[in-house]
């Protein structure tokens, strides 16, 4: 049995290499925007500070067991068959040892348990009084955010999707819900995940210290495009946030140029059975030759009978977002220059010219089911989930884009 020495060594090497690689990868997380070990909020730091000592203790225990096993294996190996044939001392057990290694781990775990319980209740604390309430509503396969700006308990002032804009330095009281199946809302650098369960409202408090974008995605399997149900929290300064709120609450303006007006008509006839633009006027309400841009009559949306969830992304102020289609695609091009423009990237003609991801947006209008796995169906039915292919002409697509970019 000459191979035994070699085989023990052979066991150590891959594990040691694995451990080194593991530590190395933990150290270099710059390119991991969803890394749960890079906390950037009080809540995430609380969790981080709890788990890191536990990881350390677990690591120590693991190496004790591993090297214990290797040591025992090395020290007590039978030298050869003759040696194996000799009997070692027949030990049947040791009561004191057994009691010892029952109680010792229990004590260690007891300590971990105390800190765990403290943290659980710490994280369950109610948000501060000045918290902003945001309803987070999951559906296949995008997130809607509704803001209760006037604190009247009804989150109807701002309805947006994909990007959740929040101010730094204030608690955000999330009320996580679902319109169809169970989803889970998770932005790892801000907090642990919380499921969105239909019929229930789950509270979660988040808080950002620094401006920036915090990435996440749905983490409860929710069907076909679960992998592309993404989350983006955009944290801005309180002043920027106030400006954002003001812009979001401003009424939409009738488009003026011809292509956009055409697109508006297409939107009104094709898209409004799912998508709403709050405050949109009816382009068909003008008399005779008057331009639809003068329309003042409010558009009368048809009842939404299609879509299981009963909702599609609200497109009011669409261009204040950086993503579309469940944050699967960038609306604002993902370049340093464009990202630097923040959520107001589309406020100028130049910004739109430079940063609008026209390619993906047009492709989406051309044939959405090809872009994202959905159960859209050939036509809209109560079972539909996702946007079907409307067989729009290229002209119609151009006009729709021209209209959409007016939704600033």
């Amino acid at each position: 049995m000459t191979g035994r020495a070699r085989s023990t060594t052979a066991r150590v090497i891959p594990l040691a290499v694995g451990a080194v690689l593991f530590l190395a990868s933990c150290a270099s997380g710059d390119n991991a925007p969803q890394d749960s070990l890079q906390p950037e909020s009080p809540q995430a730091r609380t969790i981080y500070n709890l788990i890191m000592p536990v990881f350390a203790v677990a690591g120590i225990v693991f190496f004790l067991v591993l090297f214990g096993a290797i040591y025992v294996g090395w020290r007590f190996r039978a030298k050869d068959d003759e040696d194996f044939a000799e009997f070692p001392e027949q030990v049947h057990g040791n009561f004191k040892l057994e009691i010892g290694w029952t109680i010792l781990p229990a004590l260690v775990l007891g300590v971990v348990g105390i800190f765990t319980v403290i943290t659980i209740f710490d994280l369950a604390k109610k948000p501060a009084d000045d918290a902003i309430t945001v309803e987070v509503i999951g559906q296949q396969w995008w997130w809607e955010y509704r803001y209760d700006i006037d604190n009247d308990g009804v989150a109807d002032e701002i309805i947006t999707a994909n990007d959740m804009v929040v101010p730094t330095g204030r608690d955000i009281a999330l009320k996580i819900q679902s319109r169809d199946v169970i989803h889970s809302w998770w932005a790892p650098r801000l907090h642990g995940k919380k499921d969105a369960v239909p019929g229930r409202i789950h509270p979660l408090t988040i808080h950002t210290d620094e401006t920036g974008e915090y990435i996440g995605q749905c983490t409860e399997f929710c069907g076909l495009s679960h992998a592309e149900m993404r989350i983006k929290v955009v944290s801005v300064t309180p002043e920027e946030f106030d400006a954002w709120v003001e812009a979001q609450m401003a009424p939409v303006v009738n488009p003026q140029d011809e292509a956009a007006i055409q697109g508006w008509s297409t939107f009104a006839s094709t898209c409004t059975s799912c998508h709403h633009v709050r405050g949109m006027t009816d382009p068909a309400s003008v008399d005779g030759d008057a331009s639809p841009s003068t329309a003042t009559a409010e558009f009368d949306y048809p009842d939404l009978i299609n879509q299981v969830a009963g909702a599609a992304p609200d497109l009011t102020h669409f261009m204040s977002r950086s993503t579309f289609a469940g944050a699967m695609f960038d609306l604002r091009k993902d370049t340093d220059e464009c990202n630097a423009l923040g959520h107001t990237w589309a406020s100028t003609e130049e910004g739109i010219e430079k940063c609008l991801n026209r390619t993906d947006l047009e492709a989406w209008l051309r044939n959405a089911p090809e872009m994202k796995a959905m159960y859209a169906g050939e036509s809209m039915t109560p079972e539909s989930r996702g946007m079907p292919n409307f067989n729009l002409s290229e002209d119609q697509i151009d006009q729709l884009v021209a209209y959409l970019i007016t939704l600033k």
Binding site: I47, L50, A78, E89, E98, C222, A227
Partner: protein, 667 residues
């Protein structure tokens, strides 16, 4: 050597005179496949369990490779989102219900009667029904691939995503019905094996003299007995929802989807211990043999297993820390989950203490056992990190969890099972697997396993969610996913190697033509005192048990200095399989016919009710036939047989077939 009366009669029915169902004459001991279909021999049923489970393991393995191939690089295009969702659902379901559980069942069926000195299980025909319901349940589940696609809701199939509106294909119906029927298998098996352990032990085999494997299996059977009905109830609700428009999980009618989560995990967490405890038992048998020492702290090993069994019922909601249950529930389940690590840790330390001071021989079974001890430790420790529920909200539903449970179920259960195959292979098939190749295979598997699942810890902590068919570049996921895929193909290669080892070892045994002794490892428990392969009647005479590790103590005793001395040659305390006058239960068609009706019921419920009639006729007639059929065929051949001695000339397979053919005849 003390012994009792050699005739241990099974069953009740020698007095029934009639021969009902004349057209369908009772099967006799037919050689060939018919013998296997009608067998009620716990050993043959165990072998069939193992073979079928390995077949399903291959299917699940191919599904795993598809998953890993898809995820080898970002934006994988091998599978569509839809197909990927089906593949990972079927991978999980297949591996859990059709591979790991039945591999455990194979060991339990084969070994429990032998380890407690019994002739067979308490209800041999029920045992056959267990196997056939498992097999046909697996057929139902996998027939989905040919009848419209597999289930796509994940193995946990959370409501309401499991409803018709969200999963309009029939995949989940196949999942539902397949698992309801494998549930029958588990339940029937649990009743059977619990009764066997309680009532069929040899004289002197007190509960605290039972081998640790039998103990762990015994605990497992109680977990099955209570856990499976919870799953089945939930599945019946879902079945009614999906097929008959009931509204148990319809949120718009006031349902709370958390009900399904609770029901599923009240089953699902004990299920983890159902899968791991038999493997714990297996390594508890192997390590003492190759350390030349008794198991350290036998009572602690037994009671820690029992403790795990009990505590396993109080931790289910740790699967739901992010589900929105309140902080008090979360705190309670966190702490409960942490403390289940205590009995598990006791086991790990006791295995190491068994090795401490021993004479360790690193045979293939021993290596796999040590593999379990170390790899399971990783899974156990990452389990503790989930018990820290605030941390779990960062970890749950990420690849960190995938890493965790593969360290438990692959690094734990499967390593134990492979070790068990090497260890008991000679007992079952009459030839040893090549130890040399087995050791090489171990290292390939160990490296492949760690390459596959080790990086998933990192991926999960970096925020890669589970059950996603694609990922993007720029998230730090690329490198480790590629490593994991390479590891997965290494695992696949190591199992191909394993199958080659089986083939080669079989060929080698034919060439060598050396008769294997009944006790090739110098082992400790009763199954090693009968020949290899085990004769159909197990024991020539029922042994009377005087101690834990009774067979060992027949061979060895301690002298005045506490040193072991041999007191008898192994041959002298072994049985040579030359029994006469042994009563054995007679084979029967009915368990097979009954279970064969199940797929028709399932397909009928899904496609056309008339198929249910066919299935129903099979089931009802099988039940009728079963009821009126005496457990021992009164017309069967009786009398002593003294010509059964597997010789060197017999191939193992022939010896096996011959053995059961003859021994089952004697009455």
């Amino acid at each position: 050597m003390a012994s009792t009366d050699g005739t241990l009669a099974l069953g009740t029915g020698t007095e029934a005179p009639a021969r009902p169902m004349g057209v369908f004459a009772r099967p006799r001991n037919t050689p060939g496949w018919r013998g296997w279909v009608t067998t009620v021999d716990h050993k043959r049923i165990g072998i069939m369990y193992g073979a079928a489970a390995l077949f399903f393991f291959l299917i699940g393995g191919v599904e795993a490779l598809l998953i890993r191939a898809q995820l080898a690089a970002p934006e994988g295009k091998l599978l569509s989102a839809d197909l990927y969702n089906q593949v990972f659902t079927m991978h999980g379901t297949t591996m859990i219900f059709l591979a790991v559980m039945p591999i455990g069942a194979a060991f339990m069926n084969y070994l429990i009667p032998l380890q407690i000195g019994a002739r067979d299980v308490a209800f041999p025909r029920l045992n056959a029904l267990s196997f056939w319901s498992f097999l046909f349940g697996g057929v139902i589940l996998n027939s989905a691939w040919f009848l419209g696609g597999g289930a796509d809701g994940g193995w946990f199939n959370y409501a309401p995503n499991n409803g018709v509106i969200f999963s309009p294909s029939h995949g989940i119906d196949f999942w539902n019905l397949g698992l309801i029927f494998t549930g029958i298998s588990s339940l029937v098996g649990a009743v059977n094996l619990i009764t066997t352990v309680l009532n069929m032990r040899a004289p002197g085999m007190t509960l605290m003299r039972m081998p640790v494997f039998t103990w762990m299996s015994f605990v497992t059977q109680f977990l099955l007995l209570f856990a499976i009905p919870v799953l089945t109830s939930a599945q019946f609700l879902l079945l009614f929802d999906r097929l008959f428009g009931a509204r148990f999980f319809d949120v718009s009618m006031g349902a709370d989807p958390l009900l399904w989560e609770h029901l599923f995990w009240i089953f699902g967490h004990p299920e983890v211990y159902i899968m791991i405890l038999p493997a714990f038992g297996i390594v508890s048998e192997i390590i003492p043999v190759f350390a030349r020492k008794p198991i350290f702290g036998y009572p602690f090993m037994v009671f820690s297993g029992i403790a795990i069994g009990f505590m396993g019922w109080g931790v289910w909601a740790h699967h739901m820390f992010a589900s929105g249950i309140g902080p008090i529930s979360v705190a309670a389940f966190s702490v409960a989950t942490m403390f289940i690590a205590v009995p598990t840790g006791v086991k790990i330390l006791n295995w190491l203490a068994t090795m401490w001071g021993g004479k360790l021989k690193f045979t293939a079974p021993m290596l796999y056992s040590i593999g379990l001890v170390t790899m399971f430790t990783i899974g156990g420790l990452s389990g503790v990190t989930h018990a820290v529920s605030p941390a779990d909200t960062q970890q749950t539903d990420t690849y960190y969890i995938v890493a965790h449970f593969h360290y438990v179920l692959f690094g734990g259960a499967l390593f134990g099972f492979v070790g068990g195959w090497y260890f008991w292979w000679p007992k079952v098939f009459g030839f040893k697997l090549s130890d040399y190749h087995g050791r090489i295979n171990f290292w390939i598997l160990l490296v492949g396993f760690n390459l596959t699942f080790g990086p998933m810890h990192i991926l999960g902590l970096q925020g890669m969610p589970r059950r996603t068919y694609t990922y993007r570049t720029g998230y730090g996921f690329n490198f480790w996913n590629l490593v994991a895929t390479i590891g997965a193909f290494m695992i696949a290669a190591s199992f191909l190697y394993f199958f080659w080892i089986i083939w080669r070892s079989y060929r080698q045994s034919k060439v060598d033509a050396v008769a294997l002794s009944g006790d090739p490892w110098d082992s400790r428990s009763l199954e090693w005192m009968v020949p290899c392969p085990t004769p159909a009647h197990n024991f020539d005479v029922t042994p009377t048990v005087h101690a834990l590790d009774d067979f060992w103590h027949r061979k060895y005793d301690e002298d005045e200095n506490g040193r072991l001395v041999r007191i008898a040659a192994t041959e002298d305390v072994s049985q040579d399989g030359s029994a006469t006058d042994v009563h054995l239960p007679s084979p029967s068609y009915w368990p097979f016919v009954l279970a064969a009706g199940f797929p028709f019921v399932a397909w009928g419920l899904i496609f056309n009710m008339w198929l249910c009639v066919i299935g129903g006729i099979a089931i009802v007639s099988a039940l009728w036939g079963w009821v009126v059929e005496p457990s021992v065929d009164p017309e069967g051949e009786h009398g002593p047989h003294d010509d059964h001695h597997p010789t060197a000339d017999d191939s193992p397979a022939e010896a096996e077939a011959g053995a059961s053919e003859e021994a089952a005849l004697v009455d």
